[in-house]
């Protein structure tokens, strides 16, 4: 079984936390100990410095670590900081980037802001990752309602049972996925899988904001059928990324 972490971050934060991995090598060493084989990475610079800086640095970091896949951060096309959608997508293709992140500080996620990019993302099945805490559940709901067919991966804002918020979205939007990093609810994963199947859950650690062993051991012991565990541990993410057409 392959463990493929959908959310881990490398880089030095302005205010360092006790667990940060300054570079890919540091994370590789830790994940090798724990038994996490692959990870989809962000770089701290994407949101602390600038999307362009982070998008460049993440490529440099993963270059010698094939177990890590890079993501890129988006910015509103209107300001042309990332040039136009065609150029951006060509860069993704060239760099092997198959997933995008929104860190919506100083911009909105609505279709006025990202309509043209969202059209491309839906057509090409490119998933968008976002922390619910950045836009609230109302923001996630609007995004899903406005951009039909967009694959969205949500990082939960708290560990205090959010099912009443996200289950209705899971029911309405097949492209909506939950990262398990903060899904600490007792019996939550099992109950979710029993009701909806495993395909909208993705194993994630949210390293370095969470202790990665928690989500890992919790899934391992959740009492899931083997094929469901395999799907959540890595299969769903692999499938999501394999669908991308750049």
């Amino acid at each position: 079984m392959e463990w493929f972490d959908c959310h881990a971050e490398i880089g030095r934060r302005t205010v360092p936390g006790p667990l940060q991995a300054p570079d890919a090598a540091a994370l590789a060493a830790l994940y090798s100990e724990i038994g996490i084989q692959r990870a989809l990475l962000t770089h701290t610079s994407m949101y602390e410095i600038h999307a362009l800086t982070g998008n460049t640095r993440i490529l440099q970091e993963v270059a010698h670590h094939p177990q890590f896949s890079p993501t890129w951060a988006i910015l509103p096309p209107a300001t042309e900081e990332l040039r136009d959608a065609d150029h951006f997508l060509a860069g993704m293709r060239k760099s092997g980037v198959s997933a995008l992140w929104a860190f919506p500080t100083g911009y909105s996620l609505n279709t006025n802001t990202f309509g043209s990019l969202y059209e491309e993302m839906v057509a090409r099945h490119i998933p968008l990752f976002v922390k619910v805490g950045a836009v609230g559940w109302a923001g996630i709901t609007s995004l899903l309602a406005e951009v039909k067919g967009l694959n969205v991966v949500a990082i939960l804002p708290t560990v205090w049972g959010e099912d009443r918020y996200f289950r209705p979205l899971v029911e309405h939007y097949p492209g909506f996925h939950i990262c398990t990093s903060m899904y600490m609810l007792e019996g939550g994963v099992k109950a979710f899988v029993d009701r909806y199947g495993p395909f909208q859950l993705l194993f994630g650690s949210s390293f370095p904001d969470c202790q990665p062993g928690g989500s890992y051991f919790s899934l391992l012991c959740a009492g899931l059928k083997e094929q469901d565990l395999v799907a959540i541990a890595g299969g769903n993410l692999r499938h999501l990324l394999e669908e991308v057409r750049l």
Partner: protein, 264 residues
């Protein structure tokens, strides 16, 4: 040092370790108004214990935090139904001081009751408030266990805990949530006062919290807890297993420290 030690390997292989069962010192069986729990009832709690290798849990049902007239008898019923698997905290709501004498008596004469549960945040009443003092004095005299919700804020911050520690050093005070997020102050309390313990619920998942707590205070002052049915015990166990600590530390946190306190 590899984190995947023999003990961790066994947990990964079997999901549990026979000579290191888990004792959960902080649970709240039963439903709760603002959160969906898949398995809040007795049967679900026992199933969760089975999944996570929890041998024993210390309970304070949600209802007892709110309505002590209704909730404490419910807790006793649960103890009677599961005397081998449950221990209980008598919940004291300071807004019902007429129940003080009962609270004093029941902790001493009810089988399975191990101490008091206080929730100053929910009760919106500070640990230093008048109505808590007779109970704390009683607990201090009898060296009883007190599990208090502790969290930054007026009622039960780390400073409020220190206020208690300086006046009632003999009671066994379990800082539920380790004064989240005032961890440095909580570490200092656990270092300064022999009977003050850190409890892990909700802070165990914080980056390197367990590692830091062991380094700053020593594993012997950490107690495992989960707020069950709020949090999956296996999530919390995973945070302890993959912390950068020794197997002796892991055994103490998951089992040994609570075993000693409960005199098992």
């Amino acid at each position: 040092m590899s984190r995947v030690t023999p003990l961790v390997q066994e947990f990964l292989r079997e999901g549990r370790v026979a000579d290191c069962p888990v004792i959960d010192m902080h649970t709240h069986p039963d439903r709760f108004h603002s959160i969906y729990f898949p398995n809040p009832d007795m049967e679900g709690i026992l199933a969760s214990m089975e999944r996570s290798g929890e041998r024993l849990i210390a309970i304070a049902p949600h209802a007892a935090l709110y309505d002590p007239y209704y909730g404490n008898p419910l807790m006793v019923k649960m103890l009677q139904a599961q005397p081998e698997r449950f221990r209980g905290y008598w919940c004291y709501n300071p807004h019902y001081p007429e129940l003080l004498e009962e609270a004093k008596a029941r902790v001493l004469d009810t089988p399975g009751v191990i101490g008091y549960k206080l929730h100053p945040s929910t009760h919106q009443y500070p640990l230093s408030g008048d109505n808590y003092q007779p109970l704390l004095q009683w607990a201090n005299v009898h060296r009883l266990m007190v599990l208090s919700h502790t969290w930054a804020g007026a009622e039960c911050s780390a400073d409020a805990c220190r206020w208690v520690a300086e006046r009632y050093p003999e009671l066994i005070f379990i800082m539920g949530h380790s004064c989240y997020p005032e961890f440095d102050k909580a570490f200092a309390l656990a270092r300064d006062f022999p009977n003050f313990y850190l409890e892990l619920t909700a802070c165990e998942r914080m980056p390197a919290f367990v590692d830091r707590a062991v380094r700053e205070v020593g594993a012997h002052k950490l107690l495992f807890g989960t707020d069950l049915p709020w949090f999956d015990p296996n999530f919390s166990i995973g945070c302890v297993l993959f912390a950068d600590i020794t197997d002796d530390d892991r055994r103490a946190i998951l089992y040994g420290n609570a075993k000693k306190l409960l005199r098992l």
